[in-house]
């Protein structure tokens, strides 16, 4: 034990550390190449789109209050409602929201001073607002109405200029995602300080690495398909038109070759968040750290072999069984993560913080989504429920119960680092209860109506399903309302929340070993990561955490228990 302690920020006086202020509002409104500013820009932009997408969802539920067409003026208007809802939630909320956390947290966790390509980083972000505007402009012509999956011929022969704008917007978002992902890969592989070996990387970094590899390899397929779609729409080619020598299934194949991997773009970072939050808030090492890192990579690879499970009803019959098998295989690395999380919290000193609650919420919901996924992978079952509300239920359990819950967990967890203020835990718990129950009661009954035969994407349904739909709509309004609790909490805590200090959760990963918010160069000196990012429960870990406390907050060392 002979190493000399060099407290972080060794040369700094208390005044210097306190001088770290939050960036002024104006810095967020202009071009900035600081990854922390860009992270917040991504986050706030995505949040705005989340609100728009959520409002559209409320519209869907209003229409489905009765079995007749009443709230919307026409079936086409209803089509555009769910099309824009899905598109906004996926392309303008979940995917960019992960870029928000990736940007803010990953360089800090690595101990890097910025991303590898700061300029490119800003460029990738600034593609998003115009892309969103282009998509929304559809409302002024004739909005897209072919669903987020945009199958031809609906998206080519039977829809208006809004569909063209939709494709252009999606194209820009794809470009943004590719450029952002290249930046993440290079940052994670090349920008680590020497002590941060690949096997010391926090699991969020592993997850973002896997996600980015998927995005770089899969998104170009979307770009290619959208290019052909635009050509079909604008120049009279017939790539997707069977009557003109083209192939309608071509779109389905390419789209899902992108979009199945893309569902992992949407959820892998959330799984990374889970490993962080569960370990820190239950004071226990991540169970099977290496397996979790590797399972992200396995998911990234196997994710490319399952796309046609979305096409069981349109595929050549011989190919169905092979895709059923690959799809079931992908549940294995997902299961590894599930068991790792369980093993992590097992016997831990669980603190039911809001972040932890949402992480536990993720676990309970995602397991349901995973099980319904395997059910859908079973061909005989899928033929029966394909294109019904059962599928809607499945993907909301993984995307809302999974990704969105993880986004909330990450918000409560990193808000103190981002803003320097704690969020209100009481409001956080209230938010959790409303979201959890609202979500469960909205989406669980959809399994049942789906199995009873209610098709998805229709405004008019069999009156026999009315009671179910009323229940679902009511719960959905509660769920929508719950969003305002967190919005209020964000606003209030930003101004009045208690000062967070450097390391409010007593965590070991490097983003906590600097001030909150961190200075423009992230760290005053080159930080040295603790030997194990999740090595809680040892004397050495406690000593490391106390050293952080003393370096930044000049706090008296907390009475040491094992941390």
């Amino acid at each position: 034990m002979a190493t000399i302690a060099v407290p972080l920020g060794g040369g700094q006086s208390r005044q210097e550390i306190e001088a770290v202020r939050r960036p002024a509002l104006s810095e967020y409104l202009r071009w900035s190449v600081d990854h922390k500013i860009i992270g917040v820009q991504y986050g706030v932009t995505s949040l705005l789109f989340f609100i728009i997408g959520g409002a559209l969802a409320m519209g869907i539920r209003l229409e489905l209050w009765t079995p007749e067409l009443d709230f919307m003026v026409s079936g086409a208007a209803y089509n555009s409602l769910f099309t824009m809802h899905g598109t906004i939630m996926i392309f303008l909320f979940i995917i960019p929201m992960w870029a928000a956390y990736g940007n803010f947290v990953v360089p800090l966790q690595l101990g890097a001073k910025d991303m590898a390509f700061p300029w490119l980083n800003a460029f990738a972000f600034w593609l998003i607002p115009p892309a969103g505007v282009v998509m929304l402009l559809g409302y002024f012509v004739s909005p897209a109405e072919a669903g987020w999956t945009s199958y031809p011929p609906l998206s080519t022969l039977f829809s208006g200029d809004g569909q063209t704008l939709w494709a252009l917007g999606a194209h820009l978002l794809g470009l943004s995602s590719i450029l952002g992902s290249i930046n993440f890969i290079v940052t994670i592989l090349n920008m680590r300080p020497p002590e941060m070996t690949i096997w010391r990387m926090p699991l969020l970094c592993w997850a973002v690495l896997a996600t980015s590899i998927i995005a770089v390899m899969a998104t170009p397929f979307l770009a290619g398909a959208l290019t052909l779609l635009l050509l079909d729409r604008m120049t009279g080619t017939t790539f997707f038109d069977a009557s003109g020598g083209g192939d309608v299934l071509l779109w389905q194949n390419i789209f899902w070759f992108y979009s199945h991997p893309a569902v992992y773009i949407m959820v892998l970072p959330g799984m990374g968040v889970l490993s962080e939050v569960l370990s820190i808030h239950s004071r226990k090492p991540v169970f099977g750290y290496r397996m979790v890192g590797l399972s992200s990579m396995a998911i990234a690879i196997v994710g490319f072999t399952v796309w046609a499970h979305h096409m069981f009803t349109s595929l050549q019959p011989e190919l169905r069984i092979p895709f059923m098998i690959t799809t079931m295989i992908i549940a294995v690395p997902t299961g590894i993560k599930m068991f790792s999380w369980l093993g992590t919290i097992w016997g831990g000193k669980i603190r039911f913080t809001s972040a932890m609650l949402f992480a536990l919420g993720f676990m309970s919901m995602f397991v349901i989504g995973g099980i319904t996924g395997v059910m859908l992978a079973a061909l005989p079952f899928d033929i029966h429920v394909h294109d019904t509300y059962f599928v809607v239920s499945h993907f909301h359990f993984v995307l809302f119960g999974g990704s969105v819950f993880a986004i909330y967990a990450a918000l409560y967890h990193w808000f103190p680092k981002i803003t320097g203020r704690m969020m209100d835990e009481t409001l956080g718990r209230i938010h959790f209860v409303f979201t959890y129950l609202g979500f469960l009661i909205t989406f669980f009954p959809m399994h049942i109506v789906g199995m009873l035969g209610m098709p998805r994407r229709v405004a008019v349904y069999d009156p026999a399903f009315t009671d179910f739909n009323r229940l679902i709509s009511l719960a959905a309004f509660v769920l929508g309302f719950s969003t305002f609790i967190v919005l209020y909490n964000i606003a209030r805590s930003y101004f009045h929340g208690p000062i967070a200090g450097a390391n409010p959760w007593r965590a070991l990963t490097l983003e906590w070993a600097t001030t909150s918010p961190p200075p423009p160069t992230n760290f005053h000196d080159d930080p040295i990561p603790y030997e194990d990012p999740y090595g809680y429960g040892t004397k050495a870990a406690t000593a490391y955490i106390e050293a952080i406390d003393m370096a930044f907050d000049r706090r008296e060392a907390a009475p040491s228990g094992a941390d």
């Binding site: 060099v6 972080l8 090349n190 920008m191 050509l231 009279g236 080619t237 003109g244 000196d525 080159d526």
Partner: protein, 211 residues
């Protein structure tokens, strides 16, 4: 504190805050460029596969096109593009030897090669249009969907050549100001791109014109 703990949190910064070394920077640029090219390969392969399937399913149409078109012009064009790749290498070498003027000449020749290629492509497109091969589908036409399957990859490639020519000019502009005297990574990046565009063309040339 007399009693120091064994915990070391940080070491004094060993480089300028926020600045990476030139080698680190170069490594990042190269990895980033490779990743970008990987994503380009995906888009090109989709279009190439689209063509190949047509080639397999409709051999008559493609053979007719071959017989009408000949390979003279396109072979010459391919040569020009290959040569420009060679000029590119020479340009980088010149800069690595500290010969800025030589670099400017070679990169200039590269840009010229790209421009000649585009002119050749333009001539060929006009000939094809003359034969009635159009991008849009025409039910009357004997060419079926040959037009879109041919134009999509070749035009997409041509657009890449066009971007490459602009990039070469930009490299010359910056190079003339001495930007690459110390670190020619910017030329190397352009080189990677240009070779990539070249290799894609070899693929297209072989698949579309030769087989």
């Amino acid at each position: 504190m007399a009693e120091m703990t064994a915990t070391q949190l940080s070491a004094p910064a060993h480089d300028d805050h926020g600045h990476m070394s030139a080698e680190e920077h170069n490594e990042n640029m190269k990895l980033g460029m490779w990743l970008y090219l990987a994503s380009e390969i995906v888009i090109f392969s989709m279009m190439i596969v689209g063509y190949v399937l047509f080639r397999i399913n409709e051999p008559d149409v493609v053979e007719l096109a071959h017989s009408k078109l000949g390979v003279g012009l396109v072979t010459a064009n391919t040569f020009v593009l290959l040569a420009s790749s060679f000029f590119m290498v020479m340009g980088l070498r010149a800069m690595q030897q500290g010969n800025r003027q030589g670099m400017l000449r070679w990169i200039g020749a590269t840009a010229l090669g790209g421009a000649v290629f585009l002119a050749g492509q333009y001539i060929e497109y006009s000939e094809l249009a003359h034969l009635g091969i159009t991008l849009g589908y025409d039910i009357e036409s004997q060419w079926q969907t040959f037009g879109m399957r041919f134009y999509a990859p070749t035009f997409f490639h041509g657009a890449h050549v066009f971007v490459g020519v602009l990039w070469a000019l930009e490299v010359m502009r910056r190079g003339a100001k001495g930007r690459y005297d110390q670190n020619p990574i910017g030329i190397e990046m352009f080189g990677l791109y240009w070779h990539f565009v070249d290799v894609v063309w070899i693929m297209l040339f072989t698949l579309i014109y030769l087989v």
